[in-house]
Symmetry: C2
Subunit: 352 residues, 2 copies
């Protein structure tokens, strides 16, 4: 047969050794931008395309069964909603507003038409909430599980676009909402699944975990914050959405802006239920859930000191530290006053 | 556990009974366009977005292992090239030029870094050929096979966009290149795979099938035709790319333009190798391969009679019939002069 390279060749390097970010770096080095309309390619939350008056923002995210979601506890409506949210969140992280999406769906025969309806009910609810139009897609059968790939298109005025690379020393580091909840919700769902598998007569008791389970299953993009920052007259100097955990996203800001950061443990917002579930039930340090737990889809951004007064009274924006001129300064001051180095775990889907 | 609808519920309808087009119709009925910038949603080769001076075109296509390609005979470089071509072809079918792509890739651990490199080598070669920029993407692990979803962004002047719905009675139906070759190439590859599986010492003899196998493995989008039509001063009245077979695409034109069509068997371009391989080796009527074989990625378009002179001497544009005012007229005049009804098979990936 035609010789193919499906990974069975002599020189074999494992993707898991590179990780997702290593793989992206390797790929992006091979590609140059040829068109004048391509303003920003790989390397931020969304690509930036010049359309004349405005910038068009383009982001794409894929959710794969058994990797990103487990249908044992993920209702398809929620999954559809989440698939839209994660892309809208990427557009928000560029200070833009999503306006259109296209969807590629791969789905196996074990799914019924009713299941597809449920998925699209969630997608439609999200489209209505975010005022986004579904304008196209492709649907195919799949020999394996369900896979949803969404590409979102957004807009931003050219002078309003915010990248990861604009953080300056002494800028204030802000995060929205609270962190670690989606991760702890996932721990609860995984535990209840195990209980159920061991004894199908056991009914799960998720009521008391409603907030954190909701944060895992019903992801929301913080489009409200983009609107409010505009109202306050604040343009962040850098921004990213928190999909892989606070530490990982902080490191992206550091790397892209060529700066360091200092954050304060007691300033990192953690909800009481997240805290209790982590500390008391799972014996996980709550700050670890906030730093390394993913999928909160809150916004992390930096603002100049001059904007401090405009933001300081916002109930849902939390100042957690500041940008440091030393690029190797990536530290957290603990509640006890100790200075610890941050570790960015992020998520390596390719590890076994 | 949380109750989910993975298709195991009481009211179960099979996706295979709806088919891909039925599923798309069902989904698109549920969605309305909310944004003024959304000019055209689901239902053409690409969505159309207003960006001020021009229209932005957006198309998305997913290629799934075991459904769209078989890695036993598909080199990864070719697969990467094809994944770009099929999207660029959709943009061309709107009379536009693709400028950017984003890629979602789901890939299992059985693929090495070298395999990913090979795939991206093909993607890069296509990007260079079509002058398209890779501006973003997402890569994830997959429990199953390889899946590539590409979204292409293109541009067209507002007065140059061509939809499926503009064909008028008496317009001339044109197709580019030749048809059925990719389908016959696939038959050869499948046959050789069977021979190889029966006896791994048997070497495949593909040399004599180079053209048709190449048409299957190295798909090309007809961006040259878009350029040449512009040079000739011809704007088609309707256009679509031939991905599912000529008959299926003709039916899309009929349905969207509310017209009928008459084509002539002896005018449908079929390459000699396609003809011989179909008729002599596989005992398939060559016109069947042209009408119902997919993946040629040629362009099917209609032009007004006034443009006949401009196009008649083009070596690679073939006039195969004309548009009829009767919407139920969907016929082919055979070489023997018989009038036969066309059947659009297309491809139902969901059938078992």
């Amino acid at each position: 047969m035609v010789t193919t390279t499906t990974g069975m060749s002599e020189n074999r390097s494992e993707i898991s050794n590179l990780g997702e970010f290593g793989l992206i770096d390797r790929i992006s080095k091979k590609f140059n931008l040829q068109n004048a309309t391509s303003i920003k390619g790989i390397g931020d939350d969304a690509a930036v395309i010049d359309t004349g008056d405005d910038y068009l923002l383009v982001s794409t995210d894929v959710l794969a069964e058994s990797i990103h979601f487990d249908l044992a506890y993920t209702p398809l409506q929620h999954l559809g909603y989440k698939a839209v949210s994660v892309n809208v969140s990427d557009i928000a992280a560029m200070n833009g507003k999503a306006e259109q999406i296209v969807i590629s769906l791969a789905i196996s025969n074990r799914f019924s038409v009713e299941a597809v309806d449920a998925l699209y009910d969630g997608i439609r609810a999200a489209c209505e909430h975010y005022q986004v139009d579904l304008v196209g897609g492709d649907t195919t059968s799949s020999r394996a599980g369900l896979m949803i790939s969404i590409t979102a298109l957004g807009r931003v005025k050219k002078d309003k676009v915010v990248y990861r690379d604009g953080a300056k020393p002494n800028d204030i580091i802000c995060v929205t909402g609270d962190l670690g909840a989606a991760f702890m919700g996932l721990q609860v769902l995984e535990r209840e699944k195990e209980v159920f598998q061991a004894d199908p007569n056991m009914q799960p008791s998720l009521e008391k975990y409603e907030y954190i389970v909701g944060r895992q299953l019903r992801s929301m993009a913080r489009t409200d914050i983009i609107f409010e920052l505009e109202e306050l007259g604040v343009k962040p100097t850098s921004m990213i959405d928190i999909s892989d955990g606070l530490a990982s996203e902080l490191f992206h800001i550091c790397k892209n802006s060529n700066v360091g950061i200092r954050i304060y443990e007691d300033k990192v917002p953690v909800d009481q239920m997240t805290f209790n579930t982590a500390a008391l039930e799972f014996k996980i340090d709550p700050i670890t859930a906030a730093l390394n737990g993913g999928e909160d889809y809150e916004l992390l951004f930096t603002i100049s000191q001059a904007d401090f007064e405009k933001v300081k009274n916002h109930a849902d924006i939390h100042m957690i530290g500041y940008v440091h001129e030393k690029t190797n300064e990536r530290v957290m001051i603990t509640k006890q006053g100790n200075v610890v180095s941050l570790q960015a775990q992020g998520w390596n889907h390719f590890s076994s």
